[in-house]
């Protein structure tokens, strides 16, 4: 990633040390001229609610050396003119999948039966990687410094991530990552800080349902306890006992039982959160909940001294414009059959009200006095800043939003001493923005991670690029060729797979796949933005009708009397 002096030149900084040695060895890494930085005359938010105007931040050797309005700039500092810039502590992501490529076909995701065809697995003796019981895996072993997610996170302002592996219901242990460096040891700030769990079912083998996950958790927890007790008994007096052999799964779970190793649960809704708390009660776990976009329904369980801590998801339902102006009427009763449109409008208004209530979750938690951190799980990284703005507009004070991104998450992760504020002695993680972070059109200009500078050019839209030739743009926007990931809802259950279209818009062919099966599509045709195709399935014909918009589509899959909603997105090339 671009960094150091080359970017400084772009900013027009005055202090450029000539580097002849580096110039002579173009293949060698260009040494950084100095690990000392001065961001001068910026608006520095030292901590949430604590702002210094026209202040200077000195960074040296990865630490914050000084902050203030009257600090001496060291002679060797690389200076950044901070006039009109805003400096915050680097953000912390309380839970994320960062530094590991997302598996193509995630383990699990199915329900109940559905093992790949031809496969015969003893349902009661399935490999653990199939069941998702892999608590011994370490994110610190899996992390890849060149994984694109690291830069994406950094660019969004995160310097620290509590990262956990992809996988099933117990996919491994989390590591605290410091998002810089080319080598694993640079990245890993602390290995094995947590056990991670999610309500991710397995495919074809247990656990195939949430209740299966609950049973599997209790089983592994109680067996881990039994083994630990037998082992200590054996060590004291082995007579008449069998030695308990080592099993990494139980070894990994054991520290979680007494609460010494926290268990982070990703819970996508309150029902999952309730389940996590049942396990907390039954196994004595120290639970941190993450996700919970609907946490408003859960505030009573999050209050009190013994309450679990919460990392609220930064994801929100997509924004949808509404021009109807209809407000939801809770007690609406249809006046015979005369007002079906009125009922429909009311139902739609309720969905809108629910979307708004999700935007207000953070504010509601704040009002209830609940301190929460944040997680990027359940969120699109590109939407994080916008979503935070929506939360602020829904009543979350900016200071509270910033605290969630910094101090509160640092507190939950147990790294308040090192991260979360712009104070002397802290590790130099900083976010520098062009406007106040929560303001419209605010952009990240620099990110510092442990004193390493990353620079981001403000993005400017090419003049006349959009809308200059509307007709041409519309025509070229519809492009069917590519690989699409689709989701279809069958009886309330989401199913997914891929479709591949090739050829040209005028002459298309394609295939549809789910699991291991691929079926050719027939009669593939694109008319305007509407793509139609059929495929045979066991004597019946399934008809797809899809409306393409850029890299997404929505439509239906019709078979017999059923019309199933289907949507998809195109994979980037």
């Amino acid at each position: 990633m671009a960094r150091s002096f080359r970017l400084l030149a772009a900013v027009g900084a005055s202090l450029l040390v000539p580097l002849t040695a580096a110039a002579q060895r173009p293949d060698a890494e260009i040494p950084t001229p100095s690990r000392t930085w001065a961001i001068e005359r910026a608006r520095v938010t030292v901590a949430p609610g604590q702002v210094l105007e026209r202040a200077t931040v000195i960074v040296r050797d990865g630490l914050i050396l000084d902050v203030g309005t009257n600090v001496r700039v060291p002679f060797d500092a690389q200076r950044i003119a901070g006039d009109s810039l805003h400096v915050y502590a680097g953000f912390l992501d309380g839970l994320g999948n960062v530094g590991m490529p997302k598996p193509d076909a995630p383990q699990g995701g199915g329900r109940g039966q559905g093992a790949p065809q031809g496969e015969r697995i003893n349902p009661d003796d399935a490999p653990r990687e199939r069941t998702g019981l892999q608590p011994e895996r370490q994110m610190a072993d899996l992390v890849k410094p060149d994984d694109a997610s690291i830069e994406a996170h950094r660019k969004a302002g995160f310097g620290v991530v509590h990262s956990v592996p992809y996988g099933g219901f117990l996919p491994g242990q989390g590591a605290l990552l410091l998002l810089h460096g080319d080598r694993v040891p640079d990245l890993v700030f602390r290995p094995s800080v947590s056990l991670f769990s999610q309500f991710q079912t397995a495919r074809g083998v247990a656990p195939g349902t949430p209740m299966g996950i609950m049973a599997a958790w209790r089983n592994v927890g109680r067996e881990a306890a039994r083994r630990a007790d037998l082992r200590s008994a054996y060590e004291t007096s082995p007579e008449g006992r069998s030695r308990v052999t080592s099993d990494p799964v139980y070894e990994a779970v054991r520290p979680a039982l007494g609460g010494s190793l926290p268990v982070y649960f990703y819970t996508k809704d309150v029902l999952e959160a309730h389940r996590a708390l049942m396990l907390r009660r039954d196994l004595g776990l120290n639970v941190v909940l993450a996700g919970l976009p609907d946490a408003t329904d859960f505030t009573n369980r999050l209050s009190g001294t013994d309450a679990p801590r919460l990392l609220l998801t930064l994801g929100l339902p997509d924004e949808k414009k509404d021009s109807s102006g209809v407000a939801y009427v809770p007690g609406f009763r249809l006046d015979r059959d005369a007002n079906v449109a009125g009922e429909r409008a009311n139902l739609e208004a309720r969905v809108r009200a629910t979307r708004q209530s999700y935007e207000g979750t953070a504010a509601a938690l704040h009002r209830a006095g609940i301190r929460f951190g944040v997680t990027t799980m359940g969120a699109k990284l590109a939407d994080v800043q916008k979503n935070l703005r929506r939360m602020v507009q829904a009543g979350l004070p900016e200071d509270a939003a910033l605290a969630a991104l910094t101090t509160h998450t640092a507190e939950i992760l147990g790294v308040s001493r090192q991260f979360g504020t712009v104070e002397r002695g802290k590790i130099a993680n900083l976010v520098v923005t062009t406007k106040p972070f929560f303001a419209e059109n605010s952009a990240v200009r620099y990110v510092f991670v442990e004193g390493e500078q990353y620079s981001y050019e403000p993005t400017t839209r090419p003049a006349g690029g959009r809308g200059s030739s509307r007709a041409g743009a519309a025509a070229s926007a519809v492009q069917a060729v590519g690989t699409w990931d689709y989701d279809v809802t069958v009886q309330g259950t989401a199913q997914s797979g891929t479709m591949v279209f090739s050829g040209t818009n005028e002459s298309l062919s394609g295939t549809i796949s789910s699991d291991a099966d691929t079926t050719p599509l027939q009669d593939v045709a694109l008319d305007g933005a509407t793509l139609t195709a059929t495929f045979p399935f066991q004597g019946q014909s399934v008809r797809l009708t899809l409306t393409l918009t850029g890299d997404t589509f929505a439509g239906t899959a019709d078979v017999g009397p059923l019309s199933l909603p289907i949507s998809g997105t195109r994979r980037p090339n």
Partner: protein
């Protein structure tokens, strides 16, 4: 191909419907949910339990169920337990029926309902339901005793409200019928409006578990996965093998408790099966044919299990005397409440639904009456989030087909299912001291003109026909699509939910 397979399967859902089931078994002693089950584990000086909190924390940790008070005045009271009382008042205080009589006055602050000309009956109890749950079938093994509906109660399911609108106050939320030994069930009260799953659970209700015989498990596991059971013989053997394993598990832990050897590796499945053998968990078994019903009674006798509730039991009328006699030779068990039987086989049936697949080709609308007249405690259940709204009509059918009395017919949906769930000491009739679970009707509930007007749970009015908004849902998803009306025929049967229906659809195609 998974997606289209499910589409096809949905289209053919009629073929598949009715696979549900459940089984109720009254438990020997009141095995309170709040109590720590007596586990045979704790070994010698090594106490495995020492490291862990009890398997189930006390009920104090749960939100206390809210209760209310009400005085219903001047109703025709159908007590079910002691006949019909004309022009009678019923006072519920703090969730319990406090007084039944005439000229009762309401204590300060207690709302009064003028029920003159109306009918008051006990809240209806549905002994076989799949509402209010997030997942029905853990269809990954022929035996899944380790899972429990208790973990997946969904208080936001609008089916709860709709059941209340049909006078139903208690549902037995059952695991599905994909497995020979399925998961444990949960008895809930319809405390609609509560948003915490714990608040719906009926504290103190005995533990029950689902078994399933016949075509469902043989199709899912035998034909679907190529493992035992592929036949009814296999189904029997799965049960026997499971019980044998549980006996060994018990034996090893009992030996360890005496100081001989170490406790067995912890196994929640075997532990649950051991609890069944110890009479702590009541079996509710999905069944249709007389031969398989009789088979299970013999298996249970072999393992000393003397209590069972058969679900569906469409050919129950063929073995009614055998069911009535089952368990009579069992040793006396203290604390059973009625003290009448040492053991029992009960039946929970449909009023007049059959022929939805081969194994249930043969039945009769007289089934409930035949079973009742033979002395089998019988209930009528819904297994459906549509049928549960008119269980009173289902009960009334037994008067047309079998000539049951009003009390007998009403008992099919109140006191009898309460007995099958082991909660008849608390609910199922209008008696002083029982829970204030009541349903108020305009018209006699066994009349086709019956209209439910109000439903109380623990004295709190949870349904009021006068305040019945069109959209009663507690919450909606932010990405919910508002669809124009679509009629889904029989989509409401969830007993095979979670099973990938691809194999079933494929099979149906092959069979043509």
């Amino acid at each position: 191909m998974r997606l289209p397979a499910l589409m096809i399967a949905s289209a053919r859902f009629l073929l598949l419907a009715g696979l549900s089931s459940a089984a109720l078994v009254p438990v020997a002693e009141a095995q309170r949910r709040g109590a720590t089950p007596a586990r045979p584990a704790s070994a010698r000086p090594v106490s495995v339990q020492a490291s862990l909190p009890p398997e189930r924390a006390s009920d104090d940790a749960l939100p206390r169920a809210r209760t209310g008070s009400v005085l219903v005045q001047g109703a025709t009271v159908l007590t079910v337990s002691h006949g019909t009382l004309a022009n009678t008042d019923v006072l519920v205080q703090d969730g319990r029926i406090a007084r039944i009589g005439t000229g009762l006055s309401a204590p300060a602050g207690v709302p009064v309902v003028n029920a003159s000309g109306l009918y008051l009956m006990p809240g209806i109890i549905d002994a076989h339901s799949h509402i209010a749950t997030s997942s029905v079938n853990e269809a990954t093994s022929p035996v899944t005793a380790e899972v429990t509906q208790e973990d997946v109660i969904d208080p936001f399911d609008v089916s709860i409200y709709r059941a209340l609108a049909g006078g139903v106050t208690v549902s037995h939320v059952m695991h599905g019928s994909a497995n020979v030994i399925g998961g444990q069930n949960e008895t809930i009260k319809h405390r609609w409006g509560e948003r915490d799953p714990e608040a719906l659970k009926m504290a103190g209700a005995p533990r029950t578990i689902k078994f399933a015989l016949g075509e469902n498990p043989t199709r899912v596991h035998g034909r679907g996965n190529g493992i035992v059971p592929a036949t009814r013989m296999g189904v029997e053997q799965v049960i026997r093998n499971a019980f044998e394993q549980a006996l060994r598990y018990k034996a090893q832990n009992a030996a360890a408790a005496r100081g001989a050897g170490d406790p067995a590796p912890y196994n929640l499945r075997l532990q649950t099966l051991a609890d069944i053998l110890d009479g702590k968990v009541l079996i509710h078994c999905h069944s249709y044919r007389a031969d398989e019903i009789y088979m299970l009674t013999r298996v249970l006798r072999d393992y000393g299990v003397h209590r069972i509730v058969f679900q569906h039991v469409n050919e129950g009328f063929k073995v009614a005397p055998e069911l009535a006699a089952f368990g009579n030779d069992a040793p006396t068990v203290a604390g059973t409440g009625d003290g009448v039987t040492n053991g029992f086989a009960m039946a929970s049936v449909f009023a007049d639904w059959w022929a939805y697949k081969m194994e249930v080709y043969y039945s009769t609308a007289y089934n409930a009456a035949v079973l009742t007249r033979n002395g089998v405690v019988t209930s009528i259940n819904s297994d459906s989030n549509e049928l549960n709204r008119h269980l009173y009509h289902e009960a009334a059918k037994t008067q047309r087909y079998g000539g049951l009395t009003d009390d007998e017919a009403l008992a099919l949906i109140t006191l009898n299912p309460a007995r099958q769930l082991g909660i008849d000491g608390r609910v199922g009739s209008i008696d002083v001291g029982k829970d204030g679970d009541l349903a108020l009707f305009r018209g006699h509930p066994l009349s086709v003109y019956a209209v439910p007007l109000g439903t109380w749970v623990d004295g709190i009015r949870r349904f009021d026909a006068d305040r019945d908004g069109d959209d009663a849902r507690l919450s909606v998803r932010p990405d919910e699509r508002v669809d124009t009306a679509t009629l889904h025929v029989h989509d409401d049967h969830r007993c095979m939910e979670g099973v990938d229906l691809a194999e079933l659809a494929a099979e149906a195609t092959e069979g043509r």
